[in-house]
C-alpha cells in the first residue's frame, strides 16, 4: 500500500518575514509614522494589507555613529527610511575602496610578480598574517546577529569629503533596490541613536502599487536622479533637443518583471529540470498591439516565438538593448499595413525596464532619426522564421541548440564566462594548473560544467552583469574591481558568512578553509576552521589577462562576454 502523502500548508509569500522579531508595538508605531500614517489602508488588497506589509517586509535597525548603512557599488535589495537620528551620504570625492572593506586595486609590479616564484607556499590557500590583519580603515563589530562595519575616522572623512546629512523622514536606496542597479553612494550613520527602517523590495513594490503619493514621490526621484542622464546616453535619443528629452522623460513608464531573488528559485527549477520559457513572465506577447518600445534598464529578457506547442528562443537581450522598435517604425511608415508584435519578450529572472509609448515614439523619436538609422519595414509577418530582424538572428549565428543552452542555463549573464571548445580541448588541465599556480595553489574553477555539442561552460565565476552574489555581503568583501569590472573578494574582510556562496546561481563560489604560512589550518577561539569565500578573480592583479586563457596550448579556452553572441559566433567559426 502506498504511503499517505505528506500534507503541508501551501507556501505563502510571508512564510519568512524579513524580521521575525517585528512586534505589534513596532507595527503600530510605524502606522503612525510618515509616510505610512498618510497611506489609505483601504486601497491595499485583502491579501496584502498595509499592516502585514509593514510586519513582514520591513525591519527596524539601529546604527551607531560611523557604521556603514550602504556602500557605493554594492547591490542591495532594500530601501531605507530614517526613523530617528541622522545618516550622512558621501558626495565627493568617493571614499577609498579600502575604507569600504575592499581590496586595494591595481596590478602587481614586476618585483611582486617575480616574488611569486619565491614566495609560493606548498599548502593551498595560505593567508599570511599581514593580509588578515591589513589596516583597511574599517573595522567590524558584532551587533546582535549582524556584523556591522564602521568607519574608524569619521572626522577625517568629514574633513576630506563633501557630505550631506539626512534626517528623520528621508528615504534612500529605493532606486537601486527597485532597478537592481549598484548603489551610487556610501551612507553611514551620523548619530549614535540612528534608527532606520529597512524595506525589502517586495514591500516597496507593493507600497508603490497601492499608494499614489509614494509612487509619485519615488517616480519623481527616479526621473530626476536617474532617468534624464540615462535617456541622454541612449543612442536612439541622441538627436533629441532638451525640450524633447524632457517630454520623453515625462512620458516614460517604468516596469519590473520577474522575481528579484531569482537565483534561489532558478537553482530549484534547474535542479528539477523545469526551466521553461513558457513559465517566464511575459513583458510583450507575440501578436500584441505595439504599445511602445521597451528599453531594458537592468536584467535580461528572452525574445521568443511560438513554435509547435512551445516557444523557441530567438535571442536574449540585456541592459541597454531595445525591443519593439521594428514594429513601431514599420507601422509609422506603413499605416495601412500595420503589424502586431512579431515576437514575445519574456523576463528571465528579474527585469527592470522603461517603456516609451508609441505616441511619443511617433511624434518625437522616429522623426528625429536619419533615414539610415530607421529599421527597414517588416517584409513578412509572424510565423515565418526567416522574417527575423537582425537582432533576433542570434539563432543563426550560434545555432539553435547553443542558443537554447545558453538561455536555459542563463549564461548570458556572464561578462567573462569561461567557454571551452571541446573539439580543441585535450583535457590536459594546463588551465587548472595555471590557475592554481597563480592563486595560492588552489584552482579557482572546475574544468567541467554543462555542455552543448562542442561547447562547454566551465564552472568558473562569470563576472555577471547582474551579480546576485554581491547582494547581502555584510562587509563589502565581494565587490566590483571597478564599475562593471571584475567581481572580486577581499580575503581580509571576508568573514566566511556564505552569503555570496549561497546566492550564486552558478555554484561558482567555493568556501575554503584557510591556512597559516606553516600550512596549518587557521581556527577561531572555538577551534573551528576559518573559511573564506574564493572564486575566479580573472587574475585581476596579474599582467597579461587571465592565466587560464593564456595557459591553453590549443586555444580551446576563452573568457567571453556571452551577452554578445557575435564574439561567440566568431570564436566558434575560427
Amino acid at each position: 500500500m502506498p504511503d499517505a502523502p505528506t500534507i503541508l500548508e501551501r507556501p505563502q509569500r510571508w512564510d519568512a518575514a524579513f524580521d521575525a522579531n517585528m512586534t505589534d508595538e513596532d507595527v503600530n508605531r510605524l502606522l503612525f509614522t510618515a509616510p505610512f500614517s498618510g497611506m489609505d489602508g483601504g486601497k491595499f488588497p485583502k491579501r496584502t494589507p498595509l499592516r502585514e506589509i509593514i510586519r513582514n517586509d520591513m525591519r527596524i535597525l539601529k546604527f551607531r555613529k560611523g557604521e556603514i548603512i550602504m556602500r557605493q557599488g554594492d547591490y542591495g535589495t532594500s530601501a531605507f527610511l530614517i526613523l530617528q537620528g541622522a545618516a550622512r551620504v558621501v558626495l565627493k570625492p568617493d571614499l577609498a575602496p579600502s575604507l569600504l572593506g575592499r581590496q586595494a586595486t591595481g596590478k602587481k609590479g614586476v618585483f611582486l610578480t617575480l616574488a611569486q616564484l619565491l614566495n609560493r607556499s606548498r599548502a593551498p590557500e595560505v593567508l599570511p598574517r599581514p593580509i588578515l590583519g591589513q589596516s583597511s580603515g574599517v573595522s567590524a563589530r558584532q551587533n546582535e546577529n549582524e556584523t556591522r562595519v564602521f568607519l574608524q575616522d569619521v572626522p577625517r572623512i568629514l574633513d576630506r569629503h563633501r557630505t550631506a546629512q539626512m534626517t528623520a523622514g528621508e528615504f534612500f536606496g529605493e532606486i537601486a533596490a527597485l532597478s537592481r542597479m549598484a548603489r551610487t553612494s556610501t551612507i553611514f550613520a551620523d548619530s549614535d541613536d540612528a534608527e532606520l527602517l529597512e524595506i525589502r523590495w517586495q514591500g516597496l513594490r507593493d507600497l508603490m502599487k497601492y499608494d499614489d503619493a509614494l509612487r509619485t514621490h519615488i517616480n519623481k526621484i527616479y526621473r530626476e536622479r536617474a532617468l534624464a542622464s540615462y535617456l541622454r546616453a541612449t543612442p536612439l535619443f541622441k538627436n533629441l533637443s532638451k525640450e524633447q528629452l524632457d517630454r520623453l522623460a515625462e512620458s516614460v513608464e517604468f516596469a519590473t518583471f520577474g522575481d528579484y531573488d531569482w537565483s534561489g528559485e532558478y537553482k530549484r527549477l534547474a535542479q528539477s529540470g523545469s526551466v521553461r520559457p513558457e513559465k517566464e513572465p511575459v513583458i510583450v506577447g507575440e501578436g500584441d498591439y505595439p504599445n511602445g518600445i521597451v528599453l531594458l534598464r537592468a536584467g535580461f529578457a528572452r525574445i521568443s516565438q511560438k513554435f509547435g506547442s512551445g516557444e523557441r528562443t530567438l535571442n536574449y537581450i540585456g541592459a541597454g538593448q531595445i525591443f519593439g522598435l521594428n514594429e513601431i517604425a514599420h507601422n509609422w511608415h506603413k499605416k495601412d499595413a500595420a503589424v502586431n508584435m512579431q515576437f514575445s519578450l519574456r523576463a528571465i529572472g528579474y527585469t527592470h525596464l522603461l517603456i516609451v509609448p508609441t505616441r511619443v515614439m511617433e511624434e518625437i523619436v522616429l522623426p528625429s532619426l536619419p533615414k539610415g538609422e530607421l529599421p527597414p519595414p517588416i517584409e513578412k509577418v509572424a510565423g515565418d522564421f526567416d522574417s527575423a530582424p537582425p537582432e533576433t538572428a542570434a539563432r543563426e549565428k550560434v545555432g539553435a541548440e547553443v542558443l537554447e543552452f545558453l538561455t536555459e542555463n542563463r549564461f548570458f549573464n556572464g561578462t567573462a564566462t569561461m567557454v571551452i571548445d571541446l573539439d580543441r580541448c585535450t583535457r590536459c588541465d594546463d588551465c587548472v594548473r595555471a590557475c592554481a599556480s597563480t592563486h595560492d595553489n588552489n584552482p579557482r574553477f572546475l574544468r567541467h560544467g554543462p555542455s552543448a555539442g562542442r561547447l562547454m561552460i566551465a564552472n568558473a565565476c562569470m563576472h555577471c552583469a547582474d551579480p546576485v552574489c554581491m547582494i547581502g555581503c555584510p562587509t563589502g568583501a565581494i565587490h566590483r574591481e571597478s564599475f562593471a569590472g571584475q567581481v572580486v573578494i577581499n580575503p581580509a574582510t571576508c568573514i566566511g558568512c556564505k552569503s555570496c556562496f549561497n546566492n550564486c546561481p552558478y555554484d561558482a563560489i567555493r568556501m575554503v578553509e584557510v591556512r597559516d604560512v606553516r600550512g596549518e589550518f587557521l581556527v577561531d577561539q572555538e577551534m573551528k576552521p576559518i573559511a573564506k569565500a574564493t572564486k575566479c578573480d580573472l587574475c585581476v592583479e596579474n599582467h597579461g589577462g587571465p592565466s587560464c586563457e593564456r595557459a591553453c596550448p590549443h586555444g580551446a579556452l576563452t573568457r567571453m562576454n556571452l551577452n554578445n553572441l557575435d564574439s561567440l559566433s566568431k570564436w566558434l567559426k575560427r
Binding site: T426, R427, R454, S547, R550, H554, R574
Partner: protein, 271 residues
C-alpha cells in the same frame, strides 16, 4: 579561411620554406670545414627554445605570451630541428654507442612530439562527439559506482535470476572490474561492448518481466562503463605521450651537453 586552417597553412608554408632554406644552405655550405659545428650550434639553439616551452608552462603568472603561440612555435621549430638534425647527421646513421643513444633520444623525443600533435588534433573531437564528458581523475570512482550497481542488480539479495547471475559472473564481472579495451577504444572499435550488449539481449529469452527490467538496467550500465572506458582510453593517450616526451627531453639535453663537451674535448676546441 578559419584560424586553425590558417595556422596549418602557415605552418606548412613555414616548413616548406625552412626545408628549402636548409637544403640550400646544406648545398651551399656543405663544403665548409666547420659545417657540422654550424649546424650543431643552430640545432642546440633550436632545442633550447623547444625545451623552455615547458618552463613557460610552469610560470603562468608571468606575462610571457600565450601558450598557444608558444605551442605553434614549438611545433614548427620541432619540424625544423628534426630536419636540421638529419642534416647535422649528414643523412647517415650515427656510429658508436653514445652517438646512437643520442640520436635515438632525439628520434624518440621528436617522434613522441609528433604522436602528441596527432593525438591532440584528433582525439578531442572524438571525445566531444562521443559525449558524456568526465574528469579523468573521477573515472575510477565512477567506475566503482557502476560496478556496485551492476553487482547489486545481478548478485544482490533481491537478485533471484540464476541466468543473470551466471552471465554476470562469466562475462560482466571482469568487464566491470577495471578499465578495459584500451586499444580497441583508441582505434574506435565497439566490438567488445557490442558483444556484451548482444549477450544481455540473448538473456531476454530466459527472463520474466522483472528480470527483463534488470537486463535493461544492466545494458545501460554496460554502455555507461564502455563510455567511461572510452574516455579513459582517449584521455590517457592524450596524457601518456607527455610522459615520454618530457623526461626524454631532459635526457636528450644531458646527452647533448655531453656530446658538445666530447666534441670540443676531442677537437681541441679549435673551432
Amino acid at each position: 579561411m578559419n584560424r586553425f586552417r590558417r595556422q596549418l597553412f602557415s605552418g606548412l608554408f613555414a616548413l616548406i620554406v625552412a626545408t628549402l632554406a636548409a637544403l640550400w644552405l646544406d648545398a651551399r655550405f656543405h663544403t665548409l670545414a666547420n659545417y657540422a659545428f654550424l649546424t650543431g650550434w643552430v640545432l642546440l639553439a633550436g632545442m633550447f627554445v623547444l625545451t623552455i616551452y615547458n618552463v613557460r608552462k610552469k610560470l603562468p603568472f608571468l606575462p610571457l605570451g600565450k601558450s598557444e603561440t608558444w605551442l605553434q612555435i614549438h611545433i614548427y621549430l620541432g619540424f625544423f630541428t628534426t630536419l636540421l638534425f638529419l642534416i647535422h647527421l649528414n643523412f647517415h646513421l650515427p656510429r658508436g654507442g653514445f652517438e646512437i643513444t643520442l640520436a635515438l633520444l632525439f628520434v624518440l623525443v621528436s617522434g613522441s612530439g609528433m604522436v602528441g600533435l596527432f593525438f591532440s588534433r584528433v582525439l578531442p573531437r572524438r571525445l566531444a562527439t562521443r559525449g558524456g564528458e568526465v574528469i579523468f581523475e573521477k573515472i575510477p570512482a565512477l567506475r566503482h559506482g557502476l560496478k556496485g550497481e551492476a553487482e547489486t542488480l545481478a548478485l544482490g539479495t533481491e537478485a533471484k535470476s540464476p541466468v543473470i547471475a551466471e552471465f554476470y559472473a562469466k562475462r560482466l564481472a571482469d568487464f566491470f572490474s577495471g578499465p578495459k579495451n584500451f586499444w580497441r577504444h583508441l582505434v574506435e572499435s565497439r566490438r567488445a561492448a557490442s558483444a556484451l550488449v548482444a549477450g544481455l539481449d540473448d538473456l531476454r529469452r530466459f527472463a520474466n518481466d522483472a528480470d527483463r527490467a534488470k537486463i535493461e538496467k544492466l545494458t545501460a550500465l554496460v554502455r555507461q562503463k564502455d563510455g567511461l572506458d572510452y574516455h579513459r582510453s582517449l584521455q590517457l593517450s592524450l596524457r601518456l605521450w607527455l610522459f615520454v616526451h618530457i623526461p626524454l627531453t631532459y635526457g636528450l639535453m644531458i646527452f647533448t651537453v655531453l656530446h658538445i663537451v666530447l666534441v670540443f674535448g676531442f677537437s681541441g676546441g679549435a673551432r
